[in-house]
């Protein structure tokens, strides 16, 4: 059984981590989770991002969910937001595309232009 004591250990480890590299968030991932996004598989997209972050031990990435923004025909939609860079919006996402975006964009900093549906604001 998972207990709060397990969290204490995680906290100690995480604090060591933070000391080494500072606690800032480098990249923010925002998954559109409106009704149409959910119907098109946005939950699986979210889940895959979380799995990849855990598997690759990405400690400077943040993932959040938001409502839809009028791109219903391209759901599931994901925004990648980095400081000092234009926002990149990926559309028609699925778990396989998420894995590619994590490797290419999140880890290696190369935008996967095939999946991009909008950039900037």
């Amino acid at each position: 059984m998972k207990t709060l004591a397990d969290l204490k250990k995680i906290r100690e480890k995480a604090q060591e981590d933070m000391k080494l590299r500072g606690g800032n968030v480098r990249i923010k991932i925002v998954v559109g989770m409106g009704t149409s996004g959910i119907a098109m598989g946005a939950r699986e997209v979210m889940k895959t991002f979380l799995e990849e972050i855990a598997a690759r031990n990405l400690t400077d990435v943040m993932v959040t969910q938001t409502g839809e923004k009028g791109l219903s025909s391209m759901e599931p939609v994901v925004d990648i937001i980095e400081e000092d860079k234009p926002k990149v919006t990926y559309g028609n996402m699925n778990p396989d595309k998420v894995k590619k975006v994590v490797v290419e964009h999140i880890v290696n900093g190369r935008v996967v232009s095939d999946y991009v549906v909008a950039t900037g604001n």
Binding site: M1, K2, L4, D6, L7, K8, I10, R11, K13, A14, Q15, M18, G23, V25, V31, M33, G34, T35, I38, A39, R43, E44, M46, K47, L50, I53, A54, R56, N57, L58, T59, V61, M62, V63, T64, Q65, G67, E68, K69, G70
Partner: protein, 189 residues
């Protein structure tokens, strides 16, 4: 939406958009009463009665930026509940929040399955770092009662300034939810 967990996700996103700070989710399976109840309670902006009426109509949405005035989340859940002899109730008060209660006949042959509750809950917990979630799963049968409680407040207190997106924390929450869902037989009824 094929299952309850997807409707639940949609409803929780409504609460998040209504600026809720605390969201309580309760799912109660009562075998003695042949009853499955889902309750989502938030402390968001709430609605007055006319707005609440309208929210149950598919040709209404609170999203002002939307050109076509369609909002299907609540009407679909309501329809899917009522089609199988269940009920869908909303109570709300501006400034206080909204409570949504869905009652279903547990063994109705066409009842939607619960679906993947774990991925719904994991996503909303980590995807809304500013909202506290209190989750309660309860399973009742003749002589047994299994409960699972999950409270993000307690987790945050323990973690201090470590974010919920920290890789080990994601795994911890995922595993906790998995165990809780197994122990209360909610993996898929």
């Amino acid at each position: 939406m094929q299952d309850i967990s997807l409707h639940l996700l949609d409803i929780i996103e409504n609460s998040a958009r209504a600026e809720a700070k605390n969201i309580k989710v309760r799912i109660i399976q009562n075998n003695l009463k042949n009853h499955l109840r889902i309750i989502v309670e938030d402390d968001g902006t709430g609605m007055d009665s006319p707005t609440m009426e309208k929210a149950q109509n598919p040709f209404y949405t609170s999203k002002v930026e939307r050109e076509k005035k369609v909002g299907l989340g609540i009407p679909l859940f309501k329809q899917n509940a009522e089609l199988v002899g269940g009920s869908f109730k909303m109570a709300s008060e501006p400034g206080f929040g909204t409570v949504l209660t869905v009652d279903l006949v547990l063994d109705h042959i066409d009842r939607m399955p619960l679906g993947n509750l774990k991925d719904t809950l994991l996503g909303v917990i980590i995807g809304h770092p500013d909202i506290d979630f209190f989750i309660q799963l309860i399973y009742r049968d003749r002589s047994v009662e299994h409960c699972f409680h999950f409270d993000t407040k307690a987790i945050r207190e323990e973690l201090g300034d470590i974010p919920l997106t920290y890789p080990d924390v994601i795994e911890y929450i995922d595993q906790s939810l998995y165990e809780g869902i197994q122990n209360t037989n909610m993996e898929d009824v």
